[in-house]
Every structure is written in structure tokens, then in C-alpha cells.
């Protein structure tokens, strides 16, 4: 019997144990089971179960543990939870908003894939908390409240060529994005409570705000509006490592963590004046344009970002990351493309390199090709 992993609770279960919900909500005669979203069991585990009230086929599966509506074809879907963490005000929500929009549009077109929200909760929450503020109202996403995080879960469908025929088929991966509040990273206890999913992640995008770095602040002071000083970058990294090691039971310090981590500096547009005029970080990456993960572009930006990190922070961050993680890379990106004004309005919305960390993680997993 095939197994699957719930994208929400990460519980590995037999597909025969899934439950169903009726989706017959037609205006003329809505099924009571559908209205009540009642969890129905498949009688005798038949292949095509029917609703006991309206008799319509049951097509929506839900996780028997957490009740999450599972993506279509979950039994043949790989699940890749991706955690997006970062200190307060580093732009996590803005990043998630733009990344998902790019996934839906540019990336989808280039990589011959489509993205679908799993369940109303993701759809509604993305629309209300992420998409509307940035794309509709042209303002930053609001501050995320501390506490438990409800993930955004998407299904990414790739169209692939069949090995022996010209036909194309769908290959699905499920993505779970955790956009945690900065406050949840302020202490190890808080991280353990609210970010327990970290060790189940397939990849981590650690967002860092360059405007928090003393070196940068000293040079940009009075030129732009600087955010309040927040938790130290190395402290967040140290806490992340601890949560993962505890979760995985990885007590042997000499063993590195196998989860790839993308150390991504946001708001690169704000530090434009500190970059080399010829910096590749000033331009958008070529991955999306090429339709594959361009390793040359990646290497360029990675090396440049590493040298910037060394310049801005010294070697401590690089040392910490390289000592703890097998796979890591440095990225620079801008989710908004310009610094918001005092009313949080975005004067010029021009995101760039937003997808790079994410595409790197997909390439690492072999989901997209890299050249």
C-alpha cells in the first residue's frame, strides 16, 4: 500500500487510511456532508467511494490526523516543506507574497509547471494577508503576529516528457511554506514551540536584513529610513541549528545537517549604493529566462554575496553555516524593489532575484534541471 506525507502535519500514513469530504455544494442541492465538511470514511476501502448522503463521488481526500485537505494525487506526490525564517522586519511576508506570485506566473511559464493552492485556507490567507496588500493596495504586508503559524501549502505540477514517448505527463510536488513571525525566533523556547516544523523541512530559506548589519547601518544612516535594530543574524542561525539538531536528534556536533539552507539577504535594493557598479546583484537572475537553473549565474551571485557577507559581517556567519550545514549558498534579492514610504506604500514595485533561493532548493532536490 502506498504511503504519503501530509504537507501540513508531516505525518507519514497509508493512503488507505485517508478520509474524504464531499464537495457537492451546488446551489440547487448542496449535500449536507459538504456543508458540514464531514470526514467520511471510504466503505470497504473501495477505489471510487461515494458520499453516503448525495451519492456523488468523493474526490477530496483529507488527512485523518490533522484534517487538512490533501492535494490531488497525494499518493504520487513528493512533499517538500520549505521554511522561511528570519528576524523581525526582514521582509518574510513580502518575500512569500512575491515568491508565490512569481511561482504562479513567471516561473510557471519558464519551467512548464503550474502552482495550485491546497485548500481554501491557503487560498484565502494568501489572498488576504499577502497578495492584496502588495499587489492590490501596493503596501507592505502587515506585521505577522507571534504564535503558531498556519502554513501556506501549494501543489507544484511539472509537465514532463515521457522517457519513451512524445507524450507529456504531470509530476507533482507539494510545497509547504512556513512564514513565521519574527517574534517566534526571539528565543530558543519560542522557536521550539512555534517552529518545530523546521527539522521536517526539505529546505530552509533564512532571510536576513542587511539593514540590520552595523556596517551597513553606519554607511546608510540618514540616507534611508532604517528599521529598528533586531535580533542578531548569527543568533538566529544558532537558534535554527539548535532546533533542527534537537528535532532530528543530531547530537553529534561533527555531523552536519543535511537540510540545504539558502542564506538570503533581502532589501538588496536598499544597499545598492554599497554594491560594486558591475555587481550581478543589480540585475535579475537568468534562471527564469533560461528555463533551467543557471549554475553560472548562481555561482556568480553566491560568490559575490559571500564576499559581501565577509565584508559586512566578517567570517563568523560563513564559518557558522559551513560548520553546521552540508549544503548552503548565499543569495541577495529584493522582494519589493524599493524602500516603502512612511505609510508602507511601495513607490516602485520591481522585485528581483526573489526566486533564486527557492529554485536553488528545487535544483538541489532534482525537481528542476540545472545547467
Amino acid at each position: 500500500m502506498s504511503k504519503y506525507t501530509c504537507p501540513r502535519c508531516f505525518e507519514k500514513q497509508d493512503i488507505k487510511d485517508v478520509k474524504y469530504i464531499c464537495t457537492n455544494k451546488s446551489k440547487a442541492s448542496s449535500c449536507q456532508n459538504a456543508i458540514e465538511r464531514k470526514a467520511l470514511e471510504s466503505a470497504h476501502k473501495i477505489k471510487k467511494p461515494l458520499c453516503d448522503k448525495c451519492g456523488k463521488p468523493l474526490i477530496s481526500k483529507i488527512c485523518p490526523k490533522c484534517g487538512f485537505e490533501l492535494p490531488f494525487g497525494i499518493e504520487s506526490t513528493q512533499n517538500y516543506p520549505i521554511s522561511i525564517i528570519g528576524a523581525k522586519e526582514c521582509g518574510k511576508s513580502n518575500y512569500v507574497a512575491v515568491l508565490i506570485d512569481q511561482l504562479k506566473n513567471n516561473i510557471g511559464r519558464s519551467f512548464d509547471c503550474s502552482v495550485m493552492a491546497c485548500g481554501d485556507s491557503t487560498l484565502n490567507r494568501y489572498q488576504k494577508e499577502f497578495y492584496d496588500p502588495i499587489y492590490k493596495h501596493k503596501t507592505c504586508a502587515g506585521a505577522t503576529d507571534a504564535g503558531d503559524v498556519e502554513p501556506l501549502i501549494y501543489s507544484l505540477l511539472f509537465r514532463r516528457k515521457h522517457m519513451f514517448s512524445s507524450r507529456k505527463f504531470n509530476d507533482a510536488v507539494s510545497l509547504t511554506f512556513f512564514d513565521t513571525a519574527g517574534e517566534n525566533l526571539t528565543s530558543i523556547a519560542s522557536m521550539q514551540t512555534h517552529n518545530a516544523y523546521l527539522y521536517s523541512s526539505s529546505g530552509i530559506i533564512l532571510l536576513l536584513d542587511p539593514l540590520q548589519l552595523p556596517y551597513v547601518r553606519d554607511r546608510l544612516d540618514s540616507k534611508i529610513r532604517l528599521p529598528e535594530e533586531n535580533t542578531d543574524v548569527n543568533t538566529i542561525l544558532a537558534r535554527t541549528v539548535e532546533v533542527i539538531r534537537r528535532g532530528l536528534g543530531l547530537t553529534d556536533i561533527s555531523k552536519k545537517i543535511d537540510i540545504p539552507i539558502a542564506i538570503s539577504f533581502t532589501k538588496i535594493d536598499a544597499v545598492d549604493s554599497l554594491l560594486d557598479p558591475m555587481s550581478c546583484l543589480k540585475n535579475d537572475s537568468t534562471h527564469v529566462k533560461n528555463g533551467f537553473f543557471d549554475e553560472r549565474d548562481f555561482n556568480d551571485s553566491n560568490e559575490e554575496m559571500q564576499s559581501l557577507v565577509e565584508k559586512w559581517l566578517g567570517v563568523e556567519l560563513y564559518q557558522n553555516v559551513s560548520m553546521q550545514f552540508n549544503d548552503f549558498a548565499f543569495f541577495g534579492l529584493s522582494a519589493l524593489g524599493s524602500n516603502p514610504d512612511i505609510d508602507n506604500k511601495i513607490p516602485r514595485f520591481r522585485p528581483f532575484r526573489v526566486a533564486d533561493p527557492f529554485l536553488w532548493l528545487l535544483a538541489k532536490k532534482g525537481i528542476i534541471t540545472s545547467k
Partner: protein, 807 residues
């Protein structure tokens, strides 16, 4: 009233790196668990239809109030309000403040909504507070002296008076939600939501209101149905949920059983929730000045009833009956009141309410049987000072329902319950029941021969036989028993019912034998036998020792001996050699009993013969068993059939006394179909008379007694054999043509007329040789008979024509 304080908001936290949403400050007594609970319930996100970058005025004018009251998982109480603030210290939107007051259970002495709008409920942060340098000192405990300056009785009366019906439905909906453990989603303006909750709470005692949690606005209603909220007991009962498409669709939600919805704005609501009278009364009371609300609250406080459940309706009915002597026409109400009184009310209240119930029911109603049990137990328990009225009413109920088969059983159950739960009072009732006045009334009713009533009385008398031994007038009970059981038997009784009566005797051996004697005396024959079949099962179902004693006593008792015979029949039939078993049983148990002749042994006989056809066995039985013991024809017939099956040759050889006894048995049972037996007995009779008198009797004269017999249906072989034996006896009995006429009439068999004539002719030929004179006389008689009757009837004509051939 002291409360601990809590403030949560997004805070700059001085120069410290940890910024954002955090507990700004709190009183020291509030635990971490409590902080988590408050945060869980009071987390605020603005509705999606509000502007994303609102001005302060927009927030002030339009953003919903999240005013809440709930119990923390530490069991302390929390009154809190979340207020949207717009931007936080970093300039980002989404900031809000939670201000919470935490009370110990007994400390809170006003309704939570009374604190709404009071100055100490913090709705914003001052610049000074936001810029304060950490660490922020802990908040002092707050001494609350003012409340109700915004939300008070006057405001609620004004509010509800325009919404009386909606309010009663709201109470019903919340009751349903509480009972079923599902949330109630309400929607209205932000001010009205507070007033709905305030009005609901105010209609209840404070201690009860403390059990009804609410939040007038939540952006995430689903979390209150999550397992986590249930585990922490934070699944609030009433939630203000905006009917925004992103949040909750009221038009669909009102059809679901996962929640109850009331959208006062758009008029969607969960339908078909019955509105209890209590809810209607509370709503009406708001219109009429809240007197009844206050009285009802006083009453509930007096009995310490603080459960917000369906029992409130019963509480209200009790209250109405108690204070205003009001009772509806519905018997169910009585049951509710009684159940409520039993569980929650003081004895003196129940006493008074019991008396009022009795007053009302005695006047004009017969209580539905299903409510009788609780009612009478209650009345006997609490209002026994009105014993005669209760007895009288119980008697009335008994007479009413005992006439209906199904309900009579319930009346017996009722009496049993009364006996078990109010034994002294029941004893008093028994004395009353067997008093002269009531007994004569009962007997009068029983004269109507209502089978159910008579049976009920029989069961009643037997059921409480032991209890009645100590009655003031014990003889009344005995007399009723003697009247009732025979009456039951005469009215026709099913065997199962008879067994039920025996069960009523419980293990009282003496009583069982007494009842069995009555059955043996008064049951019809076939009923007795059926009864014995069931009785055997009864014996195998009761305690072995008792069964043994019953059997023993039945053999000793004259009247029950017959029942023993029926029961023995079964044992005989089941034995390996029934005839041996029959004689053994007869010899052992019946042979020398003086009352033997009163007993029907037919079933035993039939059982004894079940595996034999031997004529010797048949003859022995007829010879030894008294003819009076052959009573039940269906078994006696088997005996006779067995005799007939032996054939005419064998039958004719049987001795006269046996044949005569067989005829007596037939006569006793008024059976005249067995012509062969009768014919043989006639033959034997004439022979015997001739032997006794020395002269043959006149055929015509003796034939009178046997005139119903004829040989017309005899088989040829039997006819032949019989005539061969009979004609030599019959012919000497013919002295004139009258005799001959009767002779022909008796022996005539149309089909076998030739045989008849040949037998006569053969006899005459022999006679001619031996006694010519006698021969001539007979020929002369025959000629005369033929001459006179030749044209008279067909029989003679046929006889003449056939006889002519032989003469």
C-alpha cells in the same frame, strides 16, 4: 473587586533586539499558561473588508470590538478586549492591543459586559508607554469599583424591547449550542454584539453567566473548534463572526450542524430551534421591567442552580409553579418539574410543589401512564401529608389504566416502584386499597368482567400477598384473592397469563399451591392441559428446590392431582416404554387415591398407549381405570380408535363387561359415533339377557335403547363377521313382524343386502332342519312383514326382492 492586568501589543522594547508582538506588561500573578490562553482567544486581525491602511478615525468608527469573556485553563476568569491600533512602532500595519483582566472565580461580582466601555479597559497605548525603556514594571492589581456605566439594565431593556422574539431565539440557540458542544456564530453591529451578550448574561444568575464564554469578534472562528482549543477548554460558546466571504458564509453555515448561526443583520439563522418558555419569558421580562428576570435569578440563586442547560426550562416551570401556581396542560411539564425538584430543590419547595401538582391533576386529568411513576414517587416522598388525596388519585389511575392490557403492566411496575422507593407510604396505600369502601368499588368494577382489570387485580393481590399479611384487615385481601382467581379462569385465560400469575406468587409455596388448586378447579379441561405444558416450563425455570416442593405438594393436594396427571402424561410419553411407565405412575400415585374418580387420566392413558396397539393393553386399561377418569375426549378417542383398529373379529371376542364399559365411557362423553362398539354391545346385551332370563327378549323392545345404531356404514368384511355372529342371536328374538321390522332396520346395509339375505336364508335353512315349527313361525312373520310393508318403503322392497332369490 480586584483583577490582575495584562497588556499585549507590538512594542519597540527600547533598544533591545527582541521587538514586535509581546506582552507589554502584566500583573505578576498571571501565569504563562494564562498568557497563552489570553493570546489564543484575543488575537486580532482586521476583517478583510476594512481598509488595509486605515486612519485612526476609520479604526475608531468601524473596526469591530473584540470584547470577550472566558474561563482560562487555570479556571480563573478573564474579561478582555482587543483593539486594532493600525501601525506598530516600525510603521507596519497589523498592530493591536489586548487588554485583559483576570479574576479569581469568586472575585468577579459583576456581569462581564458591565465593564465594557469603562475607563480602565485599555484600548490604546500612549506614546510615553510605547517609548518606555525596558524592563516595563509589572502591572499592579486593579481595584474595580465602577461598572455598568455604559452597559446597564436600562440600556438592555431598551435594546431587547425592540428585539423580543430575536432575543428568545438567541437564548434558545445558545442553549442548543451549549448542549451540543458547538459554537454559536452571531453577526450584528459591533455595539449590538456586545449588547446581545450582555442581555443574555443579565438574564441569568451571575454564577451561571460565568459559564457562558464569548468573544464579540474573531477573525479566525475555526481555531475555536480545533482540538487544541478543546484541550485547553478555550472553545468559546458565542463568537462574533463577520459574514465576509473570506471568513464565514452564513447562508451555507445556517444549514450545517457544526455550528449554530444567527445573523441579525442579514437574517440568516439556524432554523427549527424550539424556543423554551423560559427564553420567551426572559425576553418578555426585559420589556416589562425585568421583574421576572430578577425573581427567577433569586430563585436559582436560592437553590444554587447554575447549569446553563435544558434543565433551565424545567427550573423555570418549577419556579412558575412554586411562586405562581401555574402549570401547563402538558404532563411532560410535570415530569420535568419533578425531575428538577428531585435533583436541585429543597424538601420544603418540593413539598409545596407536590401539593400544587396534586391539586391540579386531581381536578381534571388522568396523567399519562409514562409520567405516573415519577409523579407518584415524588408525591409520596414530599407531599405525604396529602396522603388520602394521593391514594385516591392513585386508585383512580389504577382503575383507569388496568383495563388496558399494555398499561396494566405499567401500573404494576408503578406499584413496584412505589413499594421499593416509598415503602411506608405504599403500605399505607395497601391499607387504603383494601378498605371496605374502595374494595366494594373495585368489586363493582370487576363485575363488568373486564378481563384486563380482573387479571390486573389477580396479579396485584398475588404480588403483594406477603405485604398484605400485615394489613389491618387481612381478610379483605384473602377474600379478593378467592374471588379474583376463579373469575380470571372463567373469563378464559391464556396459559402464559396463568404462569404470570404464578410468578406473581414469587417463592411463596403455600400461595402457589393455593393458586394451582384454584386453576385445577376452575380452568376448563383443555385449558388445564395447555396450562400444564407451560407450567412444566415454569417449573424448570424457577429455583430447583422450590420446583421440587411445588411438585411434592401438588401430589398431596387433592385439587392439584389432576394437574399432576397432565404433567405425568408428558413424562410417560417421553419414556422408553410408555405403557410400563403408565402403569407404574398409576400404581404409585393414583391407584389408591379416593379422589381418583374426579381426575381425568385420559391424557395419561393416551400417552401410555402411544407406542402400543396391543388389544390386551387396551383391555387392561379399560378394565382397571375407572370410567369416570376418561374425560378428555380427544385422548379417549385415541383409545377407541385403537380398539376399532383391531377389527370386528377381535372386538366381538372381547368380554361383555369390557364392551359395556366402553359403551359407558362413550355415553359419559356423549359420543355415539362408534357404531361397531355399540352394535357389539347390543349383541352382547341380547345374549346376556337371554342367558339370564332363559328366554330371548323381544328385539323391538330392546332395540329402543340402541335405536341410533345401524350397520349401514359397516365394511363388507366387518358386516359379514358381525351378521354371522349376530343373526343366530337376533333371530330368536323375533316374535312378530314388529320385531322383524326393527331387525331389518338395524341390520340393513343397502350395499350389502345380499350378504344380509344370504345370512338369514342360511340361518333359516339350518333352523328348518332343527326346528321346523320355529322355522314356519319365522317364515310366516317374514311373509306378513313383506306383505304389509312391501309398498311402504324402499328398504322392504329391496329386502323382499333380494330375499326372494334365496327362499
Amino acid at each position: 473587586m480586584k483583577a490582575e492586568q495584562y497588556i499585549y501589543t507590538s512594542f519597540k522594547n527600547g533598544d533591545l533586539p527582541d521587538k514586535g508582538f509581546m506582552i507589554y506588561s502584566k500583573s505578576e500573578g498571571i501565569t504563562e499558561t494564562e498568557c497563552n490562553d489570553i493570546k489564543f482567544v484575543m488575537q486580532y486581525a482586521p476583517p478583510s473588508d476594512m481598509p488595509p491602511n486605515p486612519t485612526e478615525k476609520q479604526i475608531y468608527d468601524n473596526f469591530p470590538y473584540s470584547f470577550a469573556f472566558f474561563r482560562l485553563s487555570t479556571n480563573r476568569l478573564c474579561v478582555a478586549q482587543s483593539t486594532y491600533l493600525g501601525k506598530d512602532y516600525s510603521g507596519r500595519y497589523g498592530n493591536y492591543i489586548i487588554y485583559a483582566l483576570v479574576f479569581s472565580q469568586n472575585e468577579l461580582n459583576c456581569y462581564p459586559c458591565d465593564m465594557f466601555g469603562e475607563k480602565y479597559i485599555k484600548l490604546s497605548m500612549t506614546e510615553e508607554e510605547l517609548n518606555a525603556k525596558p524592563p516595563i514594571p509589572a502591572l499592579e492589581n486593579l481595584d474595580i469599583e465602577t461598572f455598568g456605566s455604559i452597559v446597564n439594565d436600562d440600556l438592555l431593556m431598551e435594546f431587547i424591547s425592540e428585539r423580543e422574539q430575536e432575543f428568545s431565539y438567541f437564548i434558545a440557540a445558545v442553549l442548543r449550542g451549549k448542549q451540543e458542544g458547538i459554537p454559536v456564530y452571531i453577526n450584528d453591529t459591533r455595539e449590538h454584539l456586545v449588547l446581545w451578550m450582555a442581555a443574555l448574561h443579565r438574564a441569568l444568575p451571575l454564577e451561571m453567566a460565568k459559564k457562558l464564554s464569548f468573544n464579540t469578534y474573531t477573525h479566525d472562528h475555526k481555531k475555536f473548534s480545533s482540538e487544541m482549543s478543546k484541550e485547553r477548554n478555550l472553545n468559546l460558546l458565542c463568537l462574533g463572526v463577520r459574514p465576509d466571504e473570506n471568513y464565514f458564509n452564513y447562508s451555507n453555515g445556517c444549514k450545517s450542524s457544526r455550528q449554530i448561526v444567527l445573523d441579525f443583520d442579514m437574517k440568516y439563522r439556524t432554523e427549527n430551534i424550539p424556543v423554551p418558555s423560559f427564553a420567551k419569558a426572559m425576553a418578555a421580562s426585559y420589556v416589562l421591567g425585568m421583574d421576572e428576570i430578577n425573581d427567577f435569578i433569586d430563585f436559582l440563586n436560592e437553590i444554587n442552580f447554575y447549569y446553563f442547560s435544558n434543565d433551565l426550562e424545567a427550573a423555570y416551570k418549577f419556579f412558575r409553579l412554586y411562586v405562581a401556581s401555574e402549570l401547563s396542560a402538558d404532563d411532560k411539564d410535570i415530569e420535568d418539574i419533578i425531575s428538577f425538584g428531585n435533583r436541585y430543590c429543597e424538601e420544603y419547595m418540593n413539598s409545596e410543589v407536590g401539593a400544587k401538582i396534586l391539586d391540579i391533576i386531581c381536578k381534571d386529568r388522568i396523567l399519562d401512564i409514562k409520567y405516573c411513576q415519577k409523579t407518584f414517587v415524588f408525591l409520596y416522598k414530599y407531599s405525604f401529608f396529602m396522603r388520602y388525596s394521593i391514594h385516591d388519585y392513585l386508585y383512580k389511575i389504577i382503575l383507569h389504566y388496568a383495563k388496558e392490557e399494555n398499561k396494566a403492566v405499567k401500573i404494576l411496575d408503578l406499584l413496584d416502584t412505589l413499594k421499593n422507593s416509598t415503602s411506608e407510604q405504599f403500605w399505607d396505600f395497601l391499607n387504603f386499597f383494601f378498605s371496605e369502601d374502595f374494595l366494594s368499588q373495585l368489586k363493582f368494577e370487576m363485575n363488568g368482567n373486564n378481563k384486563n382489570l380482573v387479571l390486573f387485580v389477580a396479579k396485584f393481590v398475588l404480588n403483594y400477598h406477603n405485604d398484605c399479611q400485615n394489613l389491618t384487615d387481612k381478610s379483605a385481601h384473602e377474600e379478593l384473592l378467592k374471588q379474583t382467581i376463579p373469575q380470571v379462569c372463567h373469563l378464559g385465560i391464556k396459559e402464559n397469563t396463568a404462569i404470570e400469575l404464578l410468578y406473581c406468587c414469587k417463592d411463596n409455596l403455600k400461595l402457589i399451591i393455593k393458586v394451582l388448586s384454584m386453576f385445577a378447579t376452575h380452568l376448563a379441561l383443555d385449558e388445564k392441559e395447555k396450562f400444564c405444558i407451560s407450567f412444566t416450563k415454569y417449573l424448570s425455570g424457577i429455583e430447583q428446590e422450590l420446583a421440587k416442593n411445588i411438585k411434592k405438594n401438588m401430589w398431596l393436594e387433592e385439587k392439584t392431582l389432576e394437574l399432576c396427571a397432565y404433567m405425568s402424561a408428558k413424562e410417560i410419553r417421553d419414556s422408553r416404554n410408555p405403557i410400563v411407565a403408565f402403569w407404574a405412575s398409576y400404581e404409585d400415585n393414583f391407584k389408591n387415591r379416593k379422589e381418583l374418580k374426579n381426575i381425568d387420566l385420559a391424557s395419561m392413558v393416551e400417552a401410555g398407549l402411544s407406542k402400543t396397539n396391543n388389544i390386551k393393553n387396551l383391555i387392561k386399561i379399560v378394565e382397571i381405570i375407572p370410567e369416570e377418569c376418561f374425560k378428555s375426549w380427544k385422548y379417549v378417542k385415541v383409545l377407541f380408535d385403537k380398539f376399532l383398529s383391531q377389527g370386528m373379529k377381535a372386538l366381538i371376542k372381547i368380554d361383555s363387561p369390557i364392551i359395556f364399559k366402553l359403551v359407558k365411557i362413550l355415553n359419559n362423553l356423549k359420543q355415539d359415533d362408534f357404531h361397531a362398539i355399540y352394535a357389539i354391545s347390543f349383541l352382547k346385551f341380547l345374549q346376556a339377557k337371554a342367558e339370564k332370563d332363559g328366554v330371548y327378549p323381544s328385539f323391538a323392545k330392546e332395540y329402543k335403547a340402541f335405536s341410533k345404531i345401524n350397520l349401514s356404514n359397516f365394511e363388507k368384511r366387518d358386516y359379514n363377521i358381525y351378521l354371522a355372529q349376530a343373526v343366530p342371536v337376533f333371530m330368536p328374538c323375533i316374535y312378530d313382524e314388529q320385531d322383524f321390522n326393527k331387525f331389518v332396520e338395524f341390520c340393513f346395509n343397502k350395499e350389502e343386502i345380499a350378504v344380509f339375505c344370504l345370512t338369514i336364508s342360511t340361518y333359516l335353512k339350518k333352523l328348518k332342519k332343527r326346528q321346523l315349527k320355529q322355522y314356519k313361525v319365522l317364515i310366516d312373520i317374514m311373509q306378513k312383514y313383506i306383505r304389509e310393508n312391501k309398498q311402504a318403503n324402499e328398504k322392504t322392497k329391496l329386502f323382499f326382492e333380494t330375499m326372494r332369490k334365496y327362499l
